[in-house]
């Protein structure tokens, strides 16, 4: 259908022409218009407290205590249950967040701007591995780290980025892909390249050697540091493609631990939701699938631009880490995702596939036609609040989201 093909070409053009740059790290209240006290932005499509999963509730309670809206976790849960907190998806405020995706007023956020279209997106700073709020952690160690990010690391990064002017992100991703990252469950190369780019400026703006060492060490020890920057980058790339009539290209995929949500260009800000699926993967010692929470996080925005599970061929090591099969089978995932996408990104290539571009532009028609669900590489959270990450794996986007989207586009175009 020519209208759809033309609309999809336009959507792809806008995604591929993006020029994402990291500009700053500032408190969310300054960056995100409309974000107020006693408001929490979460991952995934809209959800109410009564339907939130365990780790999401744990993170919410921790975020409330962190902001000083309640003195302890029990009071925080009561405040949330009694309707004292307004909940909204990150995506409704130009933001994204991994796993539980907590964003509140005083959390520092990365500010990424797409210079080609002028739009911005925001994401909080990655806390590191282990017991962290994004996996539902909420004890004093978690809150102390968040306070350090707010009071020390955030301001130091802000001064650093303002000295640099901006950090161009597409080239870092391109280099990371050639160094074994797929940008979802492996970000060690991009994090290292990013550290090389900012370290001299960080040293210049820092007035305290100990603070400098702490900041450098925080980035250096966190292999997933770049993930949150990549997520904000990806959102700046897909947002300009929203609202093109007839386009069947996906502009967002996300999960809140209860439901999976998909947005499609031709239907604007409408969510197509279905129950989220359980990840299949490998577990840390002492944990098993019995401990696992269903999939969650806005991080599937990286798959939406052709990274993560779509770029598995660039990262054979990740295939083993997430329990997706042998390293030699990694390319099969990327080839399969090529069946459901309308193009490739020639700026992000995979050496192991003769420098083919990552498959980009998920077409809901092709997902339904082929039965190939988008593959997402993901971390696995414990199902109980306050525990944290217990493994990593692969999850499929539910087919129900895509069949609903196909029907909605058909209805909009008067096709039955």
């Amino acid at each position: 259908m020519k209208l759809i093909e033309d609309a999809n070409k336009e959507a792809l053009k806008r995604i591929l022409e993006a020029e994402p740059k990291l500009l700053d790290v500032i408190p969310a209240r300054e960056a995100i218009k409309g974000l107020k006290e006693r408001m929490i932005l979460h991952s995934g499509p809209p959800i109410t407290w009564d339907r939130m999963c365990g780790p999401m509730r744990g993170a919410v309670a921790g975020a409330i205590v962190f902001e000083g809206w309640a003195p302890d976790l029990a009071s925080a849960e009561k405040l949330a249950a009694d309707g004292g907190i307004k909940f909204h998806p990150n995506h409704h405020f130009d933001a994204v967040g991994p796993m539980t995706g907590m964003t509140t007023v005083s959390m520092p956020v990365f500010v990424v701007e797409n210079a080609r279209f002028g739009n911005r997106a925001y994401c909080a700073i990655n806390e590191g591995l282990g017991k962290v709020m994004r996996f539902g952690g909420n004890d004093e160690t978690v809150l102390a780290r968040l306070r350090w990010l707010r009071d020390v690391f955030g301001p130091e990064m802000s001064k650093t980025l303002r000295l640099l002017g901006s950090v161009e992100l597409k080239s870092i991703v391109a280099r990371g892909l050639s160094m074994g990252d797929e940008l979802h469950q492996r970000n060690v190369a991009c994090s290292s390249v990013f550290l090389r780019e900012v370290a001299p400026a960080l040293a210049r703006v820092s007035t305290d050697k100990e603070v400098l060492a702490e900041c450098l060490g925080f980035i250096a020890k966190n292999d997933q540091f770049f993930l949150n920057i990549a997520m904000a980058m990806a959102k700046t790339m897909t947002d300009p493609a929203k609202g093109i009539r007839g386009s069947t290209v996906v502009t967002a995929m996300c999960r809140n631990g209860t439901e999976f949500g998909v947005r499609v260009s031709g239907t604007g800000d409408r969510w197509f939701t279905a129950p989220v699926e359980m990840p299949e993967g490998l577990y840390f010692p002492g944990y098993s699938e019995k401990d696992a929470n269903p999939d969650m996080g806005d991080s599937a925005i990286v798959e939406t631009v052709g990274l993560g599970g779509f770029a598995m061929a660039a990262s054979p090591a990740v295939a083993g880490f997430v329990g997706a099969g042998s390293p030699s089978s990694a390319a099969n995932f990327t080839k399969a995702m090529g069946e459901i996408t309308v193009s490739q990104n020639s700026e992000w290539t995979i050496a192991a596939m003769d420098f083919a571009g990552v498959p980009t532009g998920i077409d809901v028609r092709l997902v339904v036609e082929t039965g190939l669900q988008p593959t997402i590489n993901t971390g696995i959270a414990h199902r109980e609040p306050g525990v944290g990450q217990v493994g990593a794996g692969v999850v499929k986007a539910p087919m129900g989201c895509f069949t609903q989207a196909v029907r909605a586009i058909a209805k909009d175009l008067g096709v039955s």
Binding site: R365, L366, V368, I409, V415
Partner: protein, 62 residues
């Protein structure tokens, strides 16, 4: 009976059998266990076999 023995199908089975298996992968191992050469074609019906959805997709240009 004579006609059946002369049929192309019967002739086929007199030579080494080589199989292209389409769809259900479970048959592959059974054939391999019998020493038969087999190539698997990963295939599923369009739109998961839903004729209404397949027709809609055809109208939408897939």
């Amino acid at each position: 009976m004579a006609e059946l023995e002369e049929s192309p199908a019967a002739q086929l089975l007199k030579a080494d059998v080589k199989v292209v298996n389409v769809g259900l992968e479970g048959f592959v191992k059974d054939l391999e266990d019998c020493g038969i050469g087999v190539v698997h074609l990963d295939w599923v019906p369009p739109a998961g076999g839903d004729p209404e959805m397949a027709a809609l997709l055809a109208k939408l240009g897939v």
